[in-house]
Symmetry: C2
Subunit: 300 residues, 2 copies
């Protein structure tokens, strides 16, 4: 089934204890699309400036990523982010954030995308997520991400969004913040009460968890000895998760379990190298092989 993503396209500069990657391609929509395209065709909505040094058609060549929703604005600049990961690779500092084109009017959903069934609204202002969602005719399964600044500053908008989506994909600390609850399970239950029927909590190297009204599933992260650059891990996770669901066309709990296992596997490839190199260097067989390994590593 058709899968649509709206999110950022970024020029990133990333420093980690293992090296530096200057002015590389990043952004939630890019990582998401690359990850999802292993499973399902993807429709991308995003906006860049004319300064963007990357040809996205070239980046996604040979992959089923529809760029009809990519807008290039002549007099605007592309979103730029620079960050440094610490020795404890779970911690990072933002060195520079230039919203540029992301601070302007958001891109429109092209007419050809309006029949999309699986939707991922990557992290941005919840009012914009709602505005984008309203342009889709009759979606089957809508997932969204959010972050601390929207929870703290735009909670009413966020709650309106939560009533319109099926699945919130959120980091552990942000889930606890949103629910004002320190226990993660209680936090997830409290978020379910606001609206979505499924909450997926990303716990970084501690794995992830799915909660619905009457079922739960917990999965560790893939135990990776090689972590070079965690940028894009969460969006790759979401990409593989939604990509798998769109591929099988189901969203029952058993399918969700498979989906977060694929999300976990694909994210583990993302973090093994800088920028998109961890994803562009693998194929579906690599993913399926590691999926089997993950099952072996976790089943008793």
């Amino acid at each position: 089934m058709s899968l649509l993503v709206t999110g950022s396209i970024a020029v990133d500069t990333v420093k980690t204890p293992f090296g530096v990657s200057e002015n590389c391609l990043g952004g939630s929509a890019v990582y998401f699309s690359m990850a999802a395209s292993f499973f399902s065709p993807v429709r991308l909505i995003g906006v860049i400036g004319s300064d963007c040094p990357f040809d996205l058609a070239q980046v996604f060549a040979g992959r089923s990523v529809d760029l009809a929703g990519l807008e290039i604005r002549k007099n605007s600049k592309t979103f730029r982010w620079a960050g440094t990961y610490h020795k404890d690779i779970n911690k990072r500092t933002t060195d520079k954030l230039e919203l540029n084109v992301l601070a302007e009017e958001p891109p429109k959903v092209p007419r050809s995308y309006r029949d999309s069934k699986f939707i991922f609204l990557a992290n941005t202002a919840p009012a914009l997520q709602l505005q984008l969602l309203e342009q889709i005719d009759n979606p089957s399964f809508v997932a969204a991400d959010t972050m601390d600044c929207w929870i703290q500053g735009h909670l009413d908008d966020l709650k309106r969004l939560l009533k319109k989506i099926d699945c919130l994909i959120i980091n552990e600390d942000e889930a606890k913040m949103l629910a004002a609850e320190h226990n993660l399970i209680k936090a997830a239950d409290a978020i379910l009460d606001i609206g979505p029927s499924v909450v997926v909590v990303k716990k970084g190297e501690s794995g992830s968890i799915i909660c619905s009204a009457d079922e739960r599933f917990v999965l560790p992260a893939f135990p990776a000895a090689e972590v070079k650059d965690p940028t894009g891990a969460g969006d790759s996770f979401a990409g593989a998760l939604l990509g798998y669901l769109a591929q099988v066309g189901r969203t029952d709990f058993e399918s969700l379990k498979q989906a977060i296992a694929y999300g976990t596997v694909v994210a583990s490839f993302t973090i093994a190298d800088f920028s998109l190199a961890g994803l562009t260097s693998i194929n579906k067989d690599d993913i399926d092989g590691r999926f089997k390994t993950l099952r072996k590593l976790t089943q008793f």
Copy 2:
């Protein structure tokens, strides 16, 4: 097979966001024995002062815990610990630490315990752990715990210990500290290089991991909505783990996987109530029931 534990017996005062438990029974050997006794008879070695307000024979009544190795010193005082857990229940502050009898000569291993096959050396000075281990004739499987102060201050002793044991059971931060390595998988591999054939890393609410030279296994924590008092979680985990291994009399990797799943389950009961109440209120059927639930929550 016979299971022996050496560790502390404590009078604890614990404050958590959910209440206060003053002068309650605690200590690594106590939590370990209570947890292990669901699976296997336990031989306890520990020492208390004449001020100890608890009758351990009464505490363990009806459980197969041999107290021949319990020493009560007339002119000594029992170890006392007081701590406060924060709203984020993973963080705690030690309010008071009175070593008392633990700062004296350690207890001896009774002659009747010398043929013990499964051994757990709870956290204490590694020189004392070695001294206790030397009194066992021919152990089959020796596991030990340690903590930051021994890694920082007694590393040579600790390395001598690691060459004599089969399994180190250690917290995540301490594993990274011991190996001087931020990546947990690399840290575990580095510890294996020092001596033990198995490393079990406890990650608190993020679960646990087993690493041997050629196999790994990762398991999330039980997703618990009720956490009242995390004291004793690690020792209960170790108790059920070693108790299960002693019960089945095997230490192959498949048995280790089952063992940490039982450890995870029993620890989840420990933290649901203060002091030992989470363990004294359950039976083996409760454990087996939650073991099945844990499998359902983690298998895909």
